[in-house]
C-alpha cells in the first residue's frame, strides 16, 4: 500500500502520558504507538476518557502544568519533539502542525474580525506583507467553499453560522500549509447535514494538499468515511490498529467487536437482531484492572491468561499492519455470531393514543421588552403539524436543530400551549392546557426522558428523593413508606442496585443517570413518553444498553414513545413510524420502511446520505446540501426546504418559491410535503444500498500481499526485532521478569532507567536517610505497584529505585516513612500516602 522507505510524518513510540494530581499519578495514555504517513489520514476512535484527546495534546506538547509525558517518543518528521527547544516547538505549532477543535466558536476570537484572524497566520509564521496575507486568506476562504468570502473576511465570528465557523477554523489551520493536521471531533457540535459538508471538505482538502491528518472521533461511521487507517483506544491504551478495512471487516479485539455490536448498523432490528451492549462501564483511570484493561467487560476473558500481565500489541497473523492488544487473538472465533436476546412477542400497535391535528406554535419576539414598542416578529416553530401515535408504538421525530421538534415536545408536555390546532390524548384535548392546569393523571401520562444525563437530575438532591417527589406529585402511594417501596421497585425496573437511592447524582455515571431519568419518566405509568435524544450524549458502549432498557420497559408497559432524534441509524433501529421535520414543517412521514426506501422527500434523501455508517459493505449515494438551515425568524417563502433543495430545478417555474407544497399521500399513510412530480418521485433510487459483506475482503488484502511477498519477507525479521524492542520498556515497567529475555541493549536501557531515580534519591535523600522506607533486593516476582491507584509507571520506577517492590513493604510504612516518600516524590501540594498504605495492605492480603 505504501512505500516503506518514505519517512512517516508523525511517529509515536510507546507514548506514556500521566497527569499528576493530589492523589498521585494518573496515567492517561499508556504505551501508545502509531505512525502517520505523508498524505495519510489516521483515525483515532474511542469513548470519552479513553485518552484520545490527550494523545493530540501530547503531540502539541500542550498538557497544562499537571500533564507530563513520562515515557516514549513523539517524532515529527523523524525528529524527536522531546529534544526540541520551546522556540522550535512554538514554531512548529500552528505552522507545521495545526489543530482543529470541537467547538468552532471557542477557537475563534469573538472580538476580532475573521479576516484579521486569518491574516495573522501568514503574518506571524511567514512574515509576508499585509496585502499578500489578505490575498492568501481570501483564496483560502474560496477553497473552503464559503459563499462571498470578501464579506466574511469583514465579519465577526458570531455573525456567521456554526458550520461556516468550522470552515473558517479549517481555513485558518490550512493557511500555514501544515504537514500534519489534528482534528479533535471537528464535527460533533454540528448538525448532520452540515457535518456531511465539513467531512466532504476535509477529505477533499486532504486529497488536494496531501496533508497528513489525525482524525479523532467517537463516531465509527465518520472514521470509515474519512480515514485510511484507524487506531481504536480503550482506557488509555490503543487496543487495535490497522487499515480501516482490516479493522472494520476483520476486527481482532473484543472491544472493537463490542463497539460494532452496540451501534445500530443497517440490518440491525429491534426484534430479530437487537443490539448487544458491552456490560459494565469504563474503569476509572485509577481503578484499571490488572492485565487486560478490557478484561472485566470481555466475554472471552480467561483467568490467568488475560490478567496475568499487561498485554502487548500483538500482530494479527497475515496482516502486517494490523495489530491488536489481545492475548487470545488466535483462540477466539471472531466470526462467531454473538448470542442475541431475541424478542419473541413484539408488541403490536393498538389504538390511537396521541392525535395531533394542524398544530401550530408561534412565538412573538418583541423588539423592545420594557416599553413593548418596536416591531414584533413571529417565530413559526411549528406549522400545521399533524400525526398520530398508537399504543406501544415508537414514533421517531427526526430533524436537525431548529426544526421545531423540541417545541413540539414542549406543547405535548404542557410547558407551552398551542397557538392553534389540537393535541388529543385518548380523545381529550390537552394542547391548550398548561402543565399546572392539567390533572395529576394527565401530567403523569405524558412524561419525558431528557437528552443530557448530566443535567437531567438535580445535583443537590439524592436520586431516591427525586423519584419519590415525582411519585408524590403524581399522587402515587399513600404514605412515605409506600412511595419508598415504589421507588425501589422503579430502581429494579431500570436495573440499578437499590443502594443507589441514597446516592447523589454526581456519584453516578452518565448511563446510570439516564436510567434514573427513565425510571422517573415511567414512574406514573405514562401513556406517552417523549424521549429527546436519550442516548446521544452517552458513550457508544453504554448507548445500546440504555436503548434496550427503554424499549423493554416500553414494550412491557405498552407505552407510546415519541423518539426525538437527528440520528437516522438509531431511528431506523428503534422506530415503527418516522416523522421528518424541517423548519417547523413535517416534510415526510410514514412507516420506517416507507421512509428508508424511495420515494423520498429531498430533505430525507439528503439526511439519509449524510449519516455516516460504520459498515464497509454499505454503498451510499452522495448528497451534500449547500448552506445552513435558515433561521426560523426569517423562513424562506414557499417550501421551507427550497433554499437548499438539490431537486428544486426539477420543479417547473417558481412554484417552490411561492407556494407551500401540499401534503400528498403516496401510499398507506406515507405522506410527503413536496412539489416534485410523481414521475420524479418514482424514479428515485435508494440512498443506502446494503451490499454483500465482502467475503473477499481477506483475499483482496491478501492478493497484493502475495505479489509483494518477496519484498516483504526481507523486511519481516527486521520489523519483528523492533517490535520486541518496543515491547521492552513496557514490560520492564510492568514485570521485571521479562526483562531478562529482552535484547541486551534494551536491558541496559531499562537498567539505566531504574538507576537514574536511584541516583537522584541518594543526593536528595541524604539528610533524612533514617526515615527512608526499608529496602529489599529485587525479588524474582515483584508486585505490580501500579495496581495502587496513584502509582503510574513513573512513580513505580522511582519506588523500584528505592528498593520497594512488594505491597507488603508499602503496607508497613509508618508516618515518618510516608512523609519521607512524599518529600522524595516532591509533589506540589499536600498528599497523603496513607491511602497507598491502605491499598497496599488490601492488595497484600488479597493475594
Amino acid at each position: 500500500m505504501m512505500d516503506k522507505a518514505v519517512e512517516p510524518i508523525l511517529e509515536i513510540e510507546n507514548l506514556n502520558i500521566s497527569f499528576f494530581v493530589r492523589a498521585g499519578e494518573i496515567p492517561a495514555v499508556m504505551d501508545f504507538s502509531c505512525k502517520v504517513m505523508p498524505g495519510e489520514t489516521m483515525g483515532l476512535v474511542g469513548e470519552s476518557g479513553c485518552g484520545k484527546s490527550t494523545v493530540a495534546l501530547g503531540i502539541m506538547r500542550d498538557m497544562g502544568n499537571r500533564g507530563k509525558i513520562v515515557g516514549g517518543k513523539i517524532k515529527f518528521k523523524g525528529r524527536d519533539m522531546g529534544e526540541m527547544s520551546d522556540e522550535e516547538l512554538r514554531d512548529i505549532r500552528g505552522s507545521k502542525i495545526a489543530m482543529i477543535y470541537q467547538e468552532p466558536m471557542a477557537s475563534l476570537n469573538p472580538a476580532m474580525k475573521i479576516g484579521k484572524q486569518l491574516m495573522e497566520v501568514p503574518l506571524i509564521h511567514e512574515q509576508v506583507s499585509e496585502q499578500e496575507a489578505y490575498d492568501r486568506s481570501l483564496a483560502m476562504l474560496h477553497s473552503v467553499k464559503l459563499p462571498d468570502p470578501a464579506r466574511i473576511m469583514d465579519a465577526y465570528p458570531h455573525q456567521i453560522s456554526g458550520g461556516q465557523q468550522q470552515r473558517i477554523v479549517i481555513a485558518m489551520a490550512l493557511l500555514s500549509k501544515p504537514d500534519l493536521l489534528l482534528l479533535d471531533e471537528p464535527t460533533t457540535a454540528l448538525d448532520v447535514t452540515v457535518e456531511a459538508g465539513i467531512v466532504e471538505l476535509v477529505k477533499e482538502l486532504g486529497r488536494e494538499t496531501g496533508t497528513s491528518m489525525l482524525f479523532i472521533s467517537h463516531n465509527l461511521g465518520l472514521i470509515l468515511e474519512t480515514c485510511d487507517r484507524i487506531t481504536v483506544m480503550y482506557s488509555g491504551e490503543a487496543v487495535e490498529t490497522g487499515t480501516v478495512h482490516e479493522v472494520f471487516d476483520q476486527m481482532r479485539h473484543p472491544y472493537t467487536q463490542g463497539l460494532f455490536n452496540s451501534i445500530p448498523l443497517p440490518g440491525a432490528d429491534k426484534n430479530s437482531r437487537p443490539l448487544i451492549s458491552i456490560r459494565g462501564q469504563l474503569p476509572l483511570p485509577m481503578e484499571r484492572p490488572h492485565g487486560c484493561n478490557f478484561g472485566p467487560r470481555c466475554d472471552h476473558y480467561v483467568e490467568s491468561i488475560c490478567n496475568a500481565h499487561a498485554v502487548p500489541m500483538n500482530e494479527v497473523s497475515g496482516q502486517p499492519d494490523h495489530r491488536s492488544r489481545c492475548m487470545r487473538i488466535k483462540d477466539i472465533d471472531w466470526e462467531a455470531e454473538p448470542e442475541r436476546r431475541l424478542v419473541e412477542d413484539p408488541a403490536a400497535p393498538g389504538d390511537v393514543v396521541l392525535d395531533i391535528r394542524d398544530l401550530k406554535k408561534y412565538y412573538d419576539v418583541a423588539a423592545n421588552k420594557i416599553f413593548g414598542g418596536g416591531d414584533t416578529r413571529t417565530v413559526k416553530a411549528n406549522e400545521t403539524v399533524s400525526f398520530q401515535a398508537r399504543e406501544s408504538e415508537t414514533v421517531a421525530i427526526v430533524g436537525e436543530s431548529g426544526c421545531g421538534k423540541s417545541t413540539l415536545a414542549k406543547v405535548l408536555l404542557g410547558l407551552e400551549t398551542a397557538t392553534s390546532g389540537s393535541v388529543e390524548l385518548r380523545g381529550k384535548d390537552i394542547g391548550d392546557t398548561e402543565v399546572n392546569d392539567r390533572t395529576k393523571k394527565t401530567v403523569a401520562s405524558v412524561q419525558m426522558v431528557f437528552q443530557n444525563p448530566f443535567d437531567t437530575l438535580n445535583p443537590s438532591h439524592t436520586v431516591g428523593s427525586q423519584i419519590i417527589r415525582t411519585l408524590e406529585k403524581f399522587g402515587i402511594g399513600e404514605t412515605t413508606t409506600d412511595r419508598t417501596n415504589r421507588m425501589l421497585e422503579l430502581l429494579d425496573l431500570v436495573k440499578l442496585p437499590r443502594a443507589f437511592a441514597d446516592r447523589m447524582p454526581r456519584q453516578l455515571s452518565g448511563g446510570q443517570k439516564q436510567r434514573i431519568g427513565v425510571a422517573r419518566a415511567f414512574a406514573g405509568q405514562p401513556q406517552v413518553v417523549v424521549a429527546d435524544e436519550p442516548v446521544s450524549a452517552l458513550d457508544v458502549s453504554v448507548q445500546a444498553a440504555v436503548t434496550e432498557l427503554l424499549m423493554d420497559i416500553q414494550r412491557e408497559a405498552k407505552t407510546t414513545m415519541l423518539f426525538i432524534s437527528h440520528d437516522l441509524s438509531v431511528v431506523r433501529y428503534i422506530a415503527d413510524r418516522v416523522v421528518v421535520m424541517y423548519l417547523g414543517h413535517i416534510v415526510e412521514q410514514g412507516t420506517t420502511d416507507q421512509i428508508f426506501s424511495p420515494p423520498y422527500h429531498p430533505y430525507t434523501e439528503a439526511l439519509l446520505s449524510a449519516i455516516p455508517i460504520a459498515d464497509t459493505s454499505v454503498q451510499k449515494k452522495h448528497i451534500v446540501l449547500d448552506g445552513d438551515i435558515p433561521s426560523a425568524l426569517n423562513p424562506p417563502s414557499g417550501c421551507p426546504f427550497q433554499t437548499r433543495c438539490p431537486r428544486k430545478s426539477m420543479v417547473e417555474g417558481t412554484l417552490c418559491e411561492t407556494d407551500v407544497p401540499p401534503v400528498r399521500d403516496l401510499s398507506n399513510g406515507h405522506q410527503v410535503k413536496c412539489h416534485l412530480a410523481q414521475s420524479v418521485l418514482d424514479a428515485m433510487e435508494p440512498v443506502i444500498v446494503l451490499g454483500e459483506k465482502p467475503a473477499t475482503a481477506t483475499s483482496k488484502t491478501a492478493k497484493p500481499k502475495a505479489v509483494k511477498a518477496p519484498a516483504k519477507k526481507t523486511k519481516a525479521p527486521a520489523k519483528k526485532l523492533t517490535a520486541v524492542e518496543k515491547a521492552v520498556p513496557l514490560s520492564s515497567a510492568r514485570s521485571r521478569a521479562t526483562v531478562k529475555k529482552a535484547t541486551p541493549k534494551a536491558a541496559t536501557r531499562a537498567k539505566a532507567k531504574a538507576a537514574t531515580p536511584a541516583k537522584a534519591k541518594s543526593t536528595a535523600a541524604a539528610p533524612k536517610k533514617d526515615n527512608a522506607p526499608p529496602k529489599m533486593r529485587k525479588p524474582t516476582k515483584p508486585d505490580d505497584l501500579k495496581m495502587i491507584s496513584g502509582v503510574g509507571p513513573k512513580i513505580e520506577g522511582i519506588l523500584n529505585g528505592l528498593g520497594v517492590y512488594k505491597f507488603e513493604q508499602i503496607a508497613k510504612w509508618k508516618k515518618a516513612e510516608r512523609a519521607w516518600v512524599d518529600d522524595h516524590l516532591s509533589f506540589k501540594g499536600r498528599i497523603d500516602r496513607e491511602d497507598w498504605v491502605k491499598q497496599a495492605k488490601a492488595l497484600a492480603k488479597g493475594r
Binding site: 493530589r22 421588552k369 420594557i370 408536555l413 404542557g414 410547558l415 402543565v435 399546572n436 392539567r438 395529576k440 401530567v443 403523569a444 405524558v446 412524561q447 419525558m448 431528557f450 437528552q451 443530557n452 443535567d455 437531567t456 437530575l457 438535580n458 445535583p459 443537590s460 438532591h461 417527589r469 415525582t470 408524590e472 406529585k473 403524581f474 399522587g475 412515605t480 454526581r506 431519568g517 422517573r520 499536600r830
Partner: protein, 398 residues
C-alpha cells in the same frame, strides 16, 4: 507597681484568649477528623488560604462568645488615673491587674473594649447580611425565573437603590427628624409605634424572612398536610414573635428587643445590601432555569415556587455562600464606617468603628487607642475574604 513590658503584655493577652485557643483546637481537630463527611466545609481543609481565613473568622467568633471570660474589665468601667495610659499600665489599688492595651480618653480598658466590640460586630453584621439575603433571594428568584415584566420592574427598583449614594442614604435614615416624623399608633399595653420611614422599612423588610420560610414549606409539603402544619406552626410562632419584638418593640415576654438606634442601622444595612444580593440571585437563576432538571420538574407539574426554592436555590448555593462571607466583611466595614461618622449605635458602645473614630482624634499622641480595634476589624475582614476565596476555590473543584 511596675508597668508591663512588651513581652509580658503579649503573654498576658495570649493567656486571656485561652478559651478561644481551646475552642479553636477542639473545633479544628473535630472538623479535620470528620472532614470527609462535611461537604464543602470539609474541603476547606485542603486549601491553605481558606484555612487561614477560617482560623481568623473562628478566632473572632469565639472571642465574641467568650467575651465575658476574656475581657479583663467591663467595657464601660472607668477607673481613676487610667486616662490615656500606655499599654500594660497597672491599675491603681488593684494588685496584679493591668490595662493590657492601655486606657482610652475616658479611662476605660482598650483591650476589654476591643473584645466586647467583637460581639457588637459579629451579631449585627451576620444578622443584617442574613436578612439582606432573605430579601434578595425572595425577590431575585421570581425575577430571574419568570423574567418579563416582573424582572424588568424588580431590576429597575434594585438599580434605583444601588444608584443612590450609600452614605447619604444613611444620613437620611438616621436623621432625628426622619426618625420621629410620622403618625403615632397606639399598640397594646400602652406601647406606641411611630410610622417613620425607618420603622416602615423595618415593617416591610422583616416580613421577608417569614414570607421566605412560609413559601419554602408550602411549596415543598403541600402534598403532606401533616408535616406542613408542623413546619408552618413553628415558622409562624417564632417568626411572628420575633417580628412583634423587633419591629414594634412590643414583645409580650419582653425578651426580644432592639434598640431604636440599632434598628435604624440594621434596617439601613439590609436595605442597601439586598439589591446586590438580588442581582446575584437573579443572574444565577437565569442560568440554572435552562437546565433539564428544571424542565423535568415542570413536566411533573411542580409549581413555580417549588422549582425556584427547591430545584434552583440549592444549586445556586456556591456563589451565594461565597458572597455571604464577602458581604459580612463589607457590612463589618460599613458598620465601622457608620460608627466613624458617628452614625453607629449608642455613643458609648465598644463597636470597633466608633472606637477607631474616637481614637483618631488622639492618634498622634496616643496611637494605642485606635490601633487595636483597627487591627481587629482588619483581621476579621481579611479572614472573611480569605474564607470566601477558599470556599470559592474549593467549590470549583470536584
Amino acid at each position: 507597681m511596675e508597668r508591663l513590658g512588651g513581652f509580658e503584655i503579649f503573654a498576658q493577652i495570649m493567656g486571656q484568649f485561652l478559651p478561644v485557643w481551646i475552642g479553636l483546637i477542639v473545633i479544628l481537630a473535630a472538623s479535620f477528623y470528620f472532614r470527609r463527611n462535611l461537604g464543602l466545609y470539609g474541603k476547606l481543609f485542603d486549601s491553605p488560604i481558606g484555612m487561614v481565613g477560617l482560623v481568623l473568622v473562628l478566632f473572632w467568633v469565639l472571642t465574641a462568645i467568650f467575651a465575658d471570660q476574656i475581657a479583663t474589665f467591663d467595657a464601660l468601667d472607668q477607673l481613676s488615673g487610667m486616662k490615656n495610659k500606655k499599654p500594660g499600665w497597672p491599675v491603681r489599688d488593684q494588685e496584679g491587674l493591668h490595662y493590657l492595651l492601655g486606657g482610652d480618653n475616658l479611662a476605660r480598658d482598650v483591650f476589654s473594649r476591643m473584645v466586647y466590640g467583637s460581639r457588637e460586630v459579629l451579631i449585627i453584621a451576620p444578622a443584617a447580611t442574613l436578612f439582606a439575603f432573605m430579601v434578595g433571594i425572595t425577590l431575585g428568584l421570581p425575577a430571574g425565573f419568570r423574567g418579563g415584566r416582573t424582572d424588568t420592574i424588580l431590576t429597575f427598583v434594585a438599580n434605583l437603590v444601588l444608584a443612590f449614594p450609600v452614605i447619604l442614604l444613611f444620613f437620611l435614615l438616621v436623621t432625628p427628624e426622619i426618625r420621629a416624623d410620622g403618625e403615632v399608633y397606639q399598640l397594646w399595653g400602652g406601647q406606641q409605634w411611630v410610622a417613620s420611614v425607618p420603622n416602615i422599612m423595618a415593617l416591610v423588610l422583616f416580613l421577608f424572612p417569614i414570607i421566605f420560610f412560609v413559601v419554602l414549606w408550602v411549596s415543598r409539603y403541600s402534598t403532606q398536610p401533616g408535616k406542613l402544619a408542623i413546619f408552618m406552626a413553628i415558622t409562624l410562632l417564632i417568626g411572628g414573635w420575633a417580628y412583634i419584638g423587633l419591629v414594634f418593640n412590643a414583645d409580650p415576654f419582653g425578651v426580644l428587643y432592639m434598640d431604636p438606634n440599632l434598628l435604624n442601622i440594621f434596617v439601613s444595612v439590609v436595605f442597601v445590601n439586598s439589591p446586590t444580593v438580588f442581582r446575584i440571585v437573579r443572574g444565577v437563576t437565569v442560568d440554572i432555569k435552562t437546565r433539564d432538571y428544571v424542565a423535568a420538574a415542570q413536566t411533573r407539574g411542580e409549581r413555580p415556587w417549588y422549582i425556584m426554592l427547591w430545584e434552583i436555590l440549592p444549586n445556586a448555593r456556591g456563589p451565594l455562600i461565597v458572597d455571604f462571607c464577602l458581604r459580612i466583611g463589607y457590612t463589618t466595614i460599613l458598620l465601622g464606617t457608620l460608627g466613624f461618622f458617628g452614625l453607629g449605635v449608642s455613643p458609648e458602645s465598644p463597636n470597633w468603628g466608633q472606637t477607631i473614630n474616637e481614637g483618631r482624634k488622639l492618634l498622634s499622641l496616643y496611637p494605642h487607642l485606635a490601633l487595636p480595634p483597627a487591627l481587629a476589624l482588619m483581621s476579621l475582614v481579611l479572614g472573611l475574604n480569605l474564607l470566601a476565596d477558599g470556599l470559592r476555590e474549593e467549590s470549583l473543584k470536584d
